[in-house]
Symmetry: C2
Subunit: 97 residues, 2 copies
């Protein structure tokens, strides 16, 4: 199991629209092969910041499966224009294999 973490900085004034679009986009995400779960959480210290945590069966389910899917084009169109700067996405594994 791989945990993807992305810290999302949303442009000021657009957080409600972002949250609405994310609700639509999350349906695309959860239909992907290898998707195990996700949560989107709002930062207490910075109201324009969110943490997106997604669990995948494998790294490739995200980097190959999702990012090369037609659903990813919809995901991008729904969400990517909200971010400034564009987020760094990293993947994390359990300490004990």
């Amino acid at each position: 199991m791989i945990l993807e973490i992305a810290m999302l900085q949303v442009r000021p004034g657009l957080t409600q629209e972002f949250e609405s679009n994310f609700a639509v986009a999350s349906k695309i995400l959860s239909s992907m092969p290898g998707y195990l779960g996700h949560s989107l959480r709002r930062c207490i210290e910075d109201k324009n910041k969110y943490a997106l945590l997604i669990t995948w069966e494998t790294l490739e389910a995200h980097t190959e499966g999702f990012r090369k899917s037609s659903g990813y084009l919809e995901w991008k169109a729904l969400l990517h224009h909200f971010y400034d700067p564009f987020p760094i996405v990293e993947h994390f594994e359990d300490l004990s294999p």
Copy 2:
């Protein structure tokens, strides 16, 4: 429920010692009032980086309870010298209250 996220950059060459000390320190953490759970995960893209995710009942369980406890002095002594730079710690809440 509050999710604390800290991205930990461990000084190169010290990751095994850090993981050993963390195993000891985690017992202090899990004994704290308001502690609900934690996970430490290793970054795939950067082998000196870890994500520490801790769930607390409230923000104050971390910022007041843990940080002002005697256990926190032990936690610091076990872990803080591994980090460079010292991590930024942020707290996240669910989207729907």
